[in-house]
């Protein structure tokens, strides 16, 4: 088995007396493309917040790159593209270049300025996501899909080994969703960046990911896409609860 980049053991988390996560054992191995699906309120975003250290688990342990999260300080190895990237302040006056440069702020460090090598790195990342022509455009003038590419570039300047994406395709039109997946696929295969992606798109993810996990308070499934595709309708309604079952029958 290849090295685990994320490893969670017996993780439980509750918020205002409501149990969100219940004894989760979850791991992401190096080089994989993990798709994380599950109903709203099922704890997907919470799981990611725990991994990013934005929330603390009530019980259990998390290891990142083989280190306990409490001791982990190589945060530049982890890139994060949030759902909120879609809902950021559109009027904010920043060029594509400026937004991507922010990815390097912490790495360059306090009391230091961007040097030539940093500037090259920023341009390279913009180029990698295919947005070179927009370098000096205002980020607010771009489409949803283009903006998400820029936020990926903001992570890429740090040469991340793990990219975590929280529903990055919300607000991206269908045509561009495929191009977006192609970009992720390319980064995963050719750059060897491990991917962990939350998505609502339970169908497409089976074609893109190398592993899939289904989360609704507990981990209902954790395995290969081939096995994921064999999940029966009854099992789906069990995972999603009865409401979703009814909606799928309405279609």
């Amino acid at each position: 088995m290849s090295e685990a980049i994320i490893s969670m053991k017996n993780i439980s988390f509750s918020y205002e007396n409501k149990q969100i996560l219940d004894h989760i054992n979850f791991s992401v191995s190096k080089g994989s493309f993990m798709g994380l699906v599950g109903p709203n309120g099922g704890g997907k975003t919470t799981l990611i917040k725990l991994i990013l250290g934005l929330q603390k688990a009530d019980a259990g342990s998390i290891q990142l790159f083989g280190q306990p999260i409490e001791k982990f300080n190589n945060w530049h190895k982890i890139g994060f593209v949030s759902q909120k990237a879609n809902a950021f302040n559109k009027g904010f006056p920043a060029t594509v270049y400026e937004v991507v440069s922010m990815g390097l702020t912490a790495k360059v460090g306090y009391l230091k300025f961007f040097q030539k090598k940093h500037k090259e790195k920023i341009k390279e990342a913009i180029n990698q996501v295919g947005m070179k022509a927009y370098t000096h455009e205002n980020i607010g003038n771009l489409s949803g899909g283009q903006q998400q590419r820029i936020f990926i570039a903001r992570s890429l300047v740090n040469d991340p080994e793990l990219l975590i994406l929280d529903e990055p395709t919300v607000g991206v039109d269908n045509e561009n969703v495929q191009r977006f997946y192609d970009l992720l696929d390319n980064l995963n295969r050719n750059k060897g960046i491990t991917m962990l992606m939350i998505t609502h798109d339970t169908g497409t993810i089976a074609e893109q990911a190398t592993e899939i996990a289904c989360l609704n308070k507990t981990l209902h499934f954790h395995g290969k896409p081939e096995a994921y595709k064999r999940i029966s309708n009854e099992e789906w309604s069990h995972i999603y609860g009865h409401n979703i079952h009814l909606i799928t029958h309405d279609h």
Partner: protein
């Protein structure tokens, strides 16, 4: 028009102080506006007023010669830290901190003023600015503090920018967001306190926000907006001071009116431009 300003010492102090203020108020104002904290400047300016009233009270009743500039700075910085504490207490209603601090500042000011049995025109000049109020020592203090503020902003520019754009991302990437935010608030308090001699306590926030609002109509990027805001700020201060002097109006009023004119002009020009391109 500028002749008097270069000839008389007191006017020269005012003009140079004005040029400094025209630079730092919009510089910090850019961060305030993009973080949607424009009203914070208002709250802090009213706390500064309480500090000034306290300083004038000491001067009048106890013959203590502490410049109200320093009591103003002390109150403003203290108020800024208090706002941060209050925002922590009311996490879901962070804007509550602003009316609490603002009314507290005005309340204290009124009491200090009445203890001192009402002040003279001095207070009026603190409220709306004055062309003749900047002493040589005030000028040196203001220049020194402004230099300090500029150095800090240059050194922490990328952190302040990153924090303004996306606080969550800044936290994840390992920046000490709380400390940077506190630094930012304290800088704001300092800028307000040293600007009041020229534009007056009640109009300081205008010089921090109006030039930024105008430059926002044109700027594509953040740095561009910073530079443009400073240009608008300087135009407003210089024209405002000169017209205020020749027409005997408090410069706070004229500076704000010039700023608003620039703002209206910017809106008209940018609308014409977008019509022409579409």
């Amino acid at each position: 028009m500028l002749a008097d300003f270069l000839e008389y010492d007191f006017l020269r102090n005012t003009l140079f102080t004005g040029i400094i203020i025209g630079l730092i108020a919009p510089l910090l104002g850019t961060f305030i506006v993009v973080r949607r904290l424009s009203l914070l400047a208002d709250a802090l300016s009213h706390v500064t007023l309480a500090g000034i009233a306290f300083g004038l009270l000491l001067e009048k009743n106890f013959a203590l010669m502490i410049s109200p500039l320093y009591t103003g700075i002390a109150f403003s910085v203290f108020g800024s830290i208090l706002i941060e504490k209050l925002r922590g207490v009311y996490k879901a209603f962070q804007e509550l901190a602003i009316p609490i601090i603002l009314s507290g500042g005005v309340g204290l000011s009124v009491i200090f003023i009445s203890i001192a049995d009402g002040f003279n025109t001095d207070l009026f000049s603190y409220l709306f600015g004055s062309v003749s109020a900047v002493s040589k020592s005030d000028f040196y203090s203001i220049a020194g503090i402004a230099g300090f503020i500029i150095i800090i902003i240059v050194l922490f520019f990328k952190e302040l920018f990153t924090l303004s754009f996306d606080e969550e991302h800044a936290t994840i990437s390992g920046l000490h967001t709380k400390a940077i935010h506190l630094l930012f608030i304290v800088l704001t308090a300092l800028v307000i306190a040293i600007s009041m001699r020229i534009v007056g306590v009640l109009l300081v926030s205008a010089l921090m926000t109006l030039p930024v609002a105008a430059s926002m109509r044109f700027a594509k990027g953040f740095k561009q907006m910073v530079y443009l805001s400073i240009v608008f700020g300087e135009i407003a201060v210089i024209i405002g001071l000169i017209t205020g002097y020749y027409l005997s109006f408090p410069p706070g009023g004229t500076i704000v009116l010039v700023s608003i004119s620039l703002l209206i002009l910017s809106i008209i020009i940018s609308k014409q431009r977008s019509k022409a391109t579409s």
